[in-house]
Symmetry: C3
Subunit: 346 residues, 3 copies
Amino acid sequence: MTTRFREPKTLAQLAMLVGGQVHGDPSYSVTGVATLMAATKNDLSFLTNGSYRPALETTQAGAVILSQEDQAASNTNAIISDNPHAAYAKVATLCVPQHNNPDGEIAQTAVIHATAQVHPSAVIGEFVVVGAHAKIGAGTVIHSACSIGDSVHIGDNCLIYPHVTLYHEVVLGNQVIVHANTVIGSDGFGFAFDKASWIKVPQLGSVRIGNDVEIGAHTTIDRGAIDDTIIEQGVKIDNQVQIAHNVVIGAYTVVAGTAAFAGSAKIGRYCLIGGGATFAGHITVCDQVQIAGMTTVTRSISKPGVYSSGTGMMPATQWRKSVVHFRNLDEIVKRIRKLEEQGPHD
Amino acid sequence: MTTRFREPKTLAQLAMLVGGQVHGDPSYSVTGVATLMAATKNDLSFLTNGSYRPALETTQAGAVILSQEDQAASNTNAIISDNPHAAYAKVATLCVPQHNNPDGEIAQTAVIHATAQVHPSAVIGEFVVVGAHAKIGAGTVIHSACSIGDSVHIGDNCLIYPHVTLYHEVVLGNQVIVHANTVIGSDGFGFAFDKASWIKVPQLGSVRIGNDVEIGAHTTIDRGAIDDTIIEQGVKIDNQVQIAHNVVIGAYTVVAGTAAFAGSAKIGRYCLIGGGATFAGHITVCDQVQIAGMTTVTRSISKPGVYSSGTGMMPATQWRKSVVHFRNLDEIVKRIRKLEEQGPHD
Amino acid sequence: MTTRFREPKTLAQLAMLVGGQVHGDPSYSVTGVATLMAATKNDLSFLTNGSYRPALETTQAGAVILSQEDQAASNTNAIISDNPHAAYAKVATLCVPQHNNPDGEIAQTAVIHATAQVHPSAVIGEFVVVGAHAKIGAGTVIHSACSIGDSVHIGDNCLIYPHVTLYHEVVLGNQVIVHANTVIGSDGFGFAFDKASWIKVPQLGSVRIGNDVEIGAHTTIDRGAIDDTIIEQGVKIDNQVQIAHNVVIGAYTVVAGTAAFAGSAKIGRYCLIGGGATFAGHITVCDQVQIAGMTTVTRSISKPGVYSSGTGMMPATQWRKSVVHFRNLDEIVKRIRKLEEQGPHD
């Protein structure tokens, strides 16, 4: 079980950890975390999403992390927090298993170039390849079968999961997490049409990833054409995201799964990008923009706010009718104009 | 050629295999399978998609698998089946090359933890890493360069293609197929905003995959936040599908390529999910729902049926006009209301 | 720095390379390439995208590649070309670092089957697995940790990046580039419903890739059901593209990131497929068709031109109103018809 603390904790200890207040018995002891629906009296639970509020009445949890305003509806011990979601995150961290590789362990099967600089405290897994002039920082853990290209620089305390490919010269900051099979630094998609075929435009830039960035599994981030592709600090990127050459993603922006950014799109700071949202090339999005899932962003956005596209889902029989009319909207509007021109008769 | 049987088969033999009846010469012998367009007199062909019915008249096939009702239009030997598609599947299985690894072969380069339990009949390919306390069942074949995390349990007769990553504690049932480079058990996408940045919400659940599930290449299935992400038995998932934390996909549901499911979406049994369809988080879809390709499912569905979204494709010049009107639909409807209020004059 | 030539070049030398004319000083020497915004007097820059024309006035570049018509607006040395984009591509190629593996180097960790034929000049990286009866052509470079299946044929001068999986019998032409973690030859998605569950339809075809094809990272190309999946010569495919079984992509067509093609779609030659565009199965698209990004192509296209779908992006508050009306379009059109029937009163 990974949802148990390594040792039982009292509510007083946990409240101190998260900067909250205990309501009820501070000496009450819990052994792990669970959802409101699954919790037993030995568990600490939490309310961070309003849609689960009804479960507060029926939960068997020994204690619950919640906001001051939700506390009234709870009849169990509680840790009251201004930010229950962040408080839960801090508590749950106590349940994360420690990696069992001793610091500085290098797998015997790893192939590390003689010119690479691996910090003595870094951990390198089985079948990892580290290229010439690469640098790997203190406390960084590279899981099995990663390919680290020539002159790649990885900062301190990074965590790189299996089968990640970092092409030559890619730069990662500190505390960067990259999930399995992700590719960073592949060639941008650049071709020039010449007579009857396409010739490759060499992709001479690289990719720079800031501190505290997390990148999901199966994400692709292409190297820049000349300048670099840039992911600024604190950005969080989900799985299967495609980031083309020379994109810039501003600090602390969050990108949900399967989103895609065409070349040279510049995204601001503190944006929230929904799943499957797709951005045209060479556009600019300002800070604090929220893009709904599956939105097609075809032009620049200069005003913070929420943006959407699409038709919403419908039963297919009704949808087919609406689509026919959508096709004919220009004709429909002309019919309205004609009616208006006929005007009220008098 | 992989479309040949290992030895010639008579129509009588094949009809018995598929539970069908021979029309024509039961002793007629065929050596493999081919499409109606490509077949020669040595081939068995099939009609499983009505749009290829015209090819029945011109095919050179020695025999054809088809339904009773299509038999009238055929002038060659036939195997008549209530379910020609399933019958073809059974026949084609005779053409699949046998893997040439003897049972129980463990590649010398594989790195298997001393505490892992690998069944004596399992096959482990080159450069595979198997973590501590992992279990691998009878007859399971793991192709080269897979990373099997600590405490992963893989059932019997599974087939895992190269470069698959299974994170710690992931559980696979029996007869599960996982195609190349797929990732199962990566962290769900959970962050809590705290002051001016995002802190990671540890993902403490795992992923459980039922019996007889097939998962395509480059698919990602995230581990649950606390509870597990669940793929029930008999589910078939195509390539490049994204399944977020705590999604549940009900038994025998089929998911086409590039579909995506946001966190905690619950999908019913026997659903058909079209390619590129995307599901919002925390919604519920009942059994036997069919979602058209590229549909954005933004709310729960409680009634079986077919659902769609989108505008359909148009020539871009016409499309641009419709889009302008779509933007102005609210104004357009107001104009209609005004005309209605003016009413017929009398 | 990868944006430097290996040695300085005069404009005369570079103009000869690209088939252009020097405007200004032919003996002027440059040491690398840079964008108009970043260039110094030692750099050659270029104008290939009209939106960057204003930068021509302020650039510090020592020389610029541009068209005859843009030359008037430039006040620096220039290389005038009929096709500045192709000219830039040729110049930038001088900046690409040479791979530092000597021809014919086979990593000691590679596992190559005794029956495989590897050309003496091919380069094989660490942890590569090459299957039985595979053939690898002259000058081809296979980076670390690729899995090359049984009977795969790879032509001459190909470049295969890390963690690529080629399933058995896949055929690649000459000068093919495949980026990291891409999968070619996985099973097509074929299942027949039989009683209450799905049985697998064996995928007996393979994949054939023509000469001069480039395939991005994380792309999946499934093997055919019986016939092969075919990518014709000169096709360029971006990252995270999904190509299902028996798709044919015609010569010199370009496919941007995250596009997806369902089974048996046939795409013509010289098409331009935008990012995220999705194609239904069994449709045919003629030559020289341009599909806008995120378009859902649900039927065949027989006329060259530009095609689109979707609603365009809007502020969410306005969008919600339009979506409600879209749902009701059939009723709206009936209201218009009623108004028309009431007619002008006279």
